[in-house]
Amino acid sequence: MIAAQELIQYTLFQQVAYIAGAAMFVLSLKWMSGPKTARRGLWVGIAGMVLAVAGTLLDNRIVDFEWILLAFGIGTLIGIPMGQWMKMTAMPQRTALSHAFGALAAGLVGTAKFYYFLEPKLHEGDVSVNKFTMFAIGLEVLLGFLTFTGSMMAFGKLAEVLPQRPITYKGQNFVNLGVLAVAVVIVVMLIIDPVANKELFVPLIVLSLIFGIMLIIPIGGADMPTVISLLNSYAGLSGAAMGFVLQNQMLIVAGSLDGASGLFLSIIMCRAMNRSFTNVLFGGFGQIVAKKGDDEEEKIHRTSNPEEAAMMMDAAQSVIIVPGYGMAVAQAQHKVADLATALTKKGINVKFAIHPVAGRMPGHMNVLLAEANVPYDQLSEMEEVNPEFEECDVAIVIGANDVTNPAAKTDESSPIYGMPVLDVEKAKQVYVIKRSMNPGFAGIDNPLYYLENTAMLFGDAKEVAGELVTEFAKLGSMHS
């Protein structure tokens, strides 16, 4: 093969549009550093996008706009409902779905480019694909299609179309890595000689699609925050690879930013669970069922009622609410927000303690509570709020389990040992709103529930929170 690179020429307007667009994208992310500037960030991102697309539409290679405009229209028609009517509780699955779309686009463009390079009549004869471009195409297609099916699987699990439980079998990692290895070998063969090995391109697509599915099969719901972030990163990288294939700086920058963002969030999520990437992807978490109980003495928990809890809160000076995925499942965020409002009105200091992996995606709890009109200065991160539990009179845990488990700090045999957790047990009184004593998703028992200063409020999170509001209001009217 001739190692000449296809010469893509951009007009000056395109160049300027891409450079300005890329700068706007960076600025857009920079302004996401605080809620006050975030919307400005959004608008500058939109401006960058419009500019880059406008620049592209002026590309001299385009001869026919019909299909472009049609696809614009269809995409917009599907995009608007996905922006406007998607419930905030559905954010994790929506995000997974959009990773899938982004990755699919990259995979399709990579496929088109591969066949394009094989047809000399499309690009003036002698120009052919060089090794680096072929490497970029291979990476783009592999990452694009595996992220596509992987994200669709994650979507299925989050939307509860598929079972959320991790599905594992013997030799799973071996099979998964085997599939990946074959795909990588194909990429290498395509780099060596794309023309002779062109029949292998379709198998590459198929293997990538299969690998994406197999990668997510063993992953459980509790690991979704990390997995979503990783898929975000892969989608970004496939976009950057597309940038290399098309020699487009704007795509490289955007893909790189997206990849960096996803990678950064995955690192935070992994740290918040004290686990490594390999452990998340190949560990089959949730399968580690703590084998305890038989030889231990019967542990006793205390059951309380909303009336008592309301009285305790009435007498409190500070209350910390600890939300978890259970709050999202029960759609309890509005009732919980009502409770916080009532407490605040009474002059009680209310804070929400939010663990980085609470929920099913990064920042999940914050969005739900913001939707329920909780002011963002009441939403505290773990490091910030942990020292405050000691001074706190009442802590209320709503649908959170592992992130409050003190065994992570003390019990070396615990599967979550070493994971940073919220110091809920230090509060003077702890109430745990929970459906039953069943251990949480990961099947790990929580010693918090058996402490002397802990009382259980059994029931649906939304109903219990509602009863707390009612009981608390009754107390208020008694005082006056």
């Binding site: 299909w67 922006g83 399709l108 972030s229 509005h334 002011p375």
Partner: protein, 121 residues
């Protein structure tokens, strides 16, 4: 100055005179953008991690730029179809992503000083 402007205008009129990038420039851009991205994103608080993800999702819809040329150039039915599908997928991300990010960001409000916010439902 005016000479530059004229040259610029000529360049606009004559697309053949544009620039291209090589592998090394591309890698350079990639690495620099990744570092800039990391620095910028590190400063995004946990509070905004969900909107951050939906925003980067929308921005990754810039794949449009790649799909548009493939769709519009006269390569053939096969390429037009793949390109149009890619445009559709990217456009969903762009429109839906920006839209929902805006919806989310509108919800983040600071504490009001004059309290009674009413019993929001």
């Amino acid at each position: 100055m005016s000479r530059t402007l004229i040259a610029a205008a000529q360049e606009l009129a004559n697309p053949e005179g544009g620039a291209t990038i090589d592998i090394y420039t591309g890698l350079f851009i990639f690495v620099m953008a990744a570092f800039a991205g990391m620095e910028v994103i590190r400063r995004v608080p946990q509070l905004l991690h969900t909107p951050l993800m939906s925003l980067t999702n929308a921005l990754s819809g810039i794949a449009l730029v790649g799909s548009i040329v493939i769709t519009g150039a006269d390569y053939g039915r096969f390429y037009t179809t793949l390109g149009a599908l890619a445009i559709t997928a990217s456009m969903i991300n762009v429109v839906g992503g920006f839209w929902i990010t805006d919806r989310m960001l509108k919800m983040f409000k600071p504490r009001e000083k004059t309290v009674p916010a009413g019993d929001a439902k």
